[in-house]
Amino acid sequence: MNREAFSAIVRQSSLFRSINAANFALLMENGILRSVEEEAFFFMQGDPTTHVYVLCRGRTRLLQYTPNGQQIILRLITPGQTFGGIALLQPSSGYPVTAQAIEDSIAMGWEARFLQKLAEKEPSISLNILQLMHHYVLELQERQRALIAERVEQRIARILLKLAAQFGQKTDQGILINFPLTRQAIAEMCGTTLFTVSRTLNEWERKGLLDIGREKVVILQPHGLVEIAEGIN
């Protein structure tokens, strides 16, 4: 993949899709490409917020660690999505999350100071970052509601449905979640234990709702999972 291909991905990103051609050229001149191997990090929670990134290749996850060392997966980032956007709003504070590549990944990054200057000329960047933050707030509200009001089975079903919406592929068998997915990762995404996830997934597999392979999940009865997520079963 060459720089032009990366440029096309950045052009489609929610942060920069509406900026004019001259400013986009400036953006591409100032972007640095960072390549990070599987399991390695773009930045760690608490690192100074120096850069904003758009993922161009691979997959990356945003994590937080609790004081007792438990890991929580907040978001999965796919090509075209922005991460580290907080740097634009609060440069030189600390990243609130850790960004870890879950497969070999390449991202284009910009210094926050450069983007702030560009945003003065191109107000759509500020509006887009606000929209991105609004989206995050809605997502966190949904998570909070789920934690307070939903049974753990509902939360697990909802996470699987969201992953299917984002990474799903229809196959003859059902909907394959085309994403390397461990039970531990599901537990970290929905705020429960590995034991609960394993027990729940095994039960659903016995009922014929899912087919679970090594790091692979196929939803055999999509409607059945929707019923569980919505609490209507």
Partner: protein, 74 residues
């Protein structure tokens, strides 16, 4: 036979092409509106899951929207 191609429309395609059909999914009391998986489920699958008569589904759709002939026939 004339309805073969509608049969395989996904809910997402249907609603993107004809947003006015939203009210039919509400009327049928399906959970399709806002469902994470509506880009995967076809009208045929929706009819089967909710025990709807497929021909009746097509008749109701065509009573609300003008579907170009080439989208209806095989």
């Amino acid at each position: 036979m004339a309805f073969e191609s509608i049969r395989s429309w996904t809910v997402a395609d249907t609603l993107n092409s004809y947003p006015q059909l939203t009210k039919l999914f509400v009327e049928w009391k399906t959970d399709c509106i806002g469902c994470y998986l509506n880009r995967f489920c076809t009208l045929e699958e929706v009819a089967a899951i909710y025990s709807l008569d497929l021909d009746e589904v097509f008749v109701r759709i065509q009573s609300l929207v003008q579907i170009p002939k080439e989208r209806i026939e095989i």
